[in-house]
Point group: C2
Chain length 252, copies 2
Amino acid sequence: MIKIVLLGAGNVATHLYKAFKTTGNIKVVQWYNRNLKAIESFKNEVNITDSVNNLTEADLYLIAINDDAIENLSTSLPFKNRLVAHTSGSASLYDIDKKHKRAVFYPLQTFSKDVELDITTVPICIESLRKQDYTLLKNLGENLGCKVYKVNPKQRPALHLAAVFVNNFTNQIYRIGHEIAESQGAEFDILKPLITETARKIQDVSPYMAQTGPAKRNDKKTIKRHLRLLDDQDHKDIYNLLTNAIKKTHGA
Amino acid sequence: MIKIVLLGAGNVATHLYKAFKTTGNIKVVQWYNRNLKAIESFKNEVNITDSVNNLTEADLYLIAINDDAIENLSTSLPFKNRLVAHTSGSASLYDIDKKHKRAVFYPLQTFSKDVELDITTVPICIESLRKQDYTLLKNLGENLGCKVYKVNPKQRPALHLAAVFVNNFTNQIYRIGHEIAESQGAEFDILKPLITETARKIQDVSPYMAQTGPAKRNDKKTIKRHLRLLDDQDHKDIYNLLTNAIKKTHGA
């Protein structure tokens, strides 16, 4: 049994809490949040608190809060030599006060408040200073049914940055597709199967091999026609930049 | 029974041929290609030809070739007043010689030679000048199990342009994610569940609502850290442009 005190009440914390609850070998013994209201609805199933001075003993103190607040919260914890991990993709392991055993348990996925998520599809990236801490966090991830990856201090920020590209930037590209379709009264729904297939394809084939289209073929006529169709200067700039990036990648 | 002469042997033609073959109400009565070699392996199951003068009678002549070649091929067809449709998202309906009944049957999907595809997931965008031609093409699409959309001459190019964004540009973004991860020896596989979830999320929620991340939050510290991590100037430019686009979209 891995006993956890969970700290924070955002999307990641809430999704993790619900996932922990479903497994037999993990117990959230306490849930801390600065603002008790955010977790009050769980008070019948778990001990909740808004005071670090009331924190109970556990195998792991898991901090799932804003990056900027990790350092202060970890310093304010009134104990030492216990395992304290944060869930950030971006914050350093060393943001955690050095009085603790420090580690990172980074679930690389997009968590939204109202969108259900199958936790077993979430890869867990683990960084730790000591082998036994890694083992505990690996057990934790595997008990959730997740794939677990050991990462180093350079890999995790790189993965977080890559995640911004494939998640936030891709989503903005979807948004632009939505705008272009709707500008002519065409349904965004028509594009959804293509979006699904584009994401599915690279599960088996590298993005390099999966590429098609006018930029890869350097089809100047189509590119010119597309640029004429775009009246938003930002969309034009993104079209040009990504078209040139594809041309460069594929030597077109 | 809809009798089709298929013209062309690229990815779209080949995927359509295989899909037509599986349905009871559609028969490819002949397959034409300029270069017979490309379709020779099908000669035991369908009449093949490399000469427009040998073309047989059919309800539909479906041209699935490069945009630039549509006009010439349609002109060279030695008959008139028959239904001739092309499958391009970009070429005009009027690229087809006016001696024919002209239409467009545009399957909005990414077709790769060696990637199997469930044809029923492919939306078909139809443009036609006459109602009865629309009806025939709609039947054709529905017989394949596809969703069929009637589009106008402004909507189809807009959808094609939007498709370049959500397919080619998204794929290039995946490619950059791949490069960033591998630059630190991290596996691209770690990012695949996030890619899947990002595409899945917008099936139910608009891309606007689905957006998260440092750009939307205008998290200057993380953005600065990301820009420091990027050493490729093209990646930096794309990061800046898309970050600013997200900020603008979400008023951050």
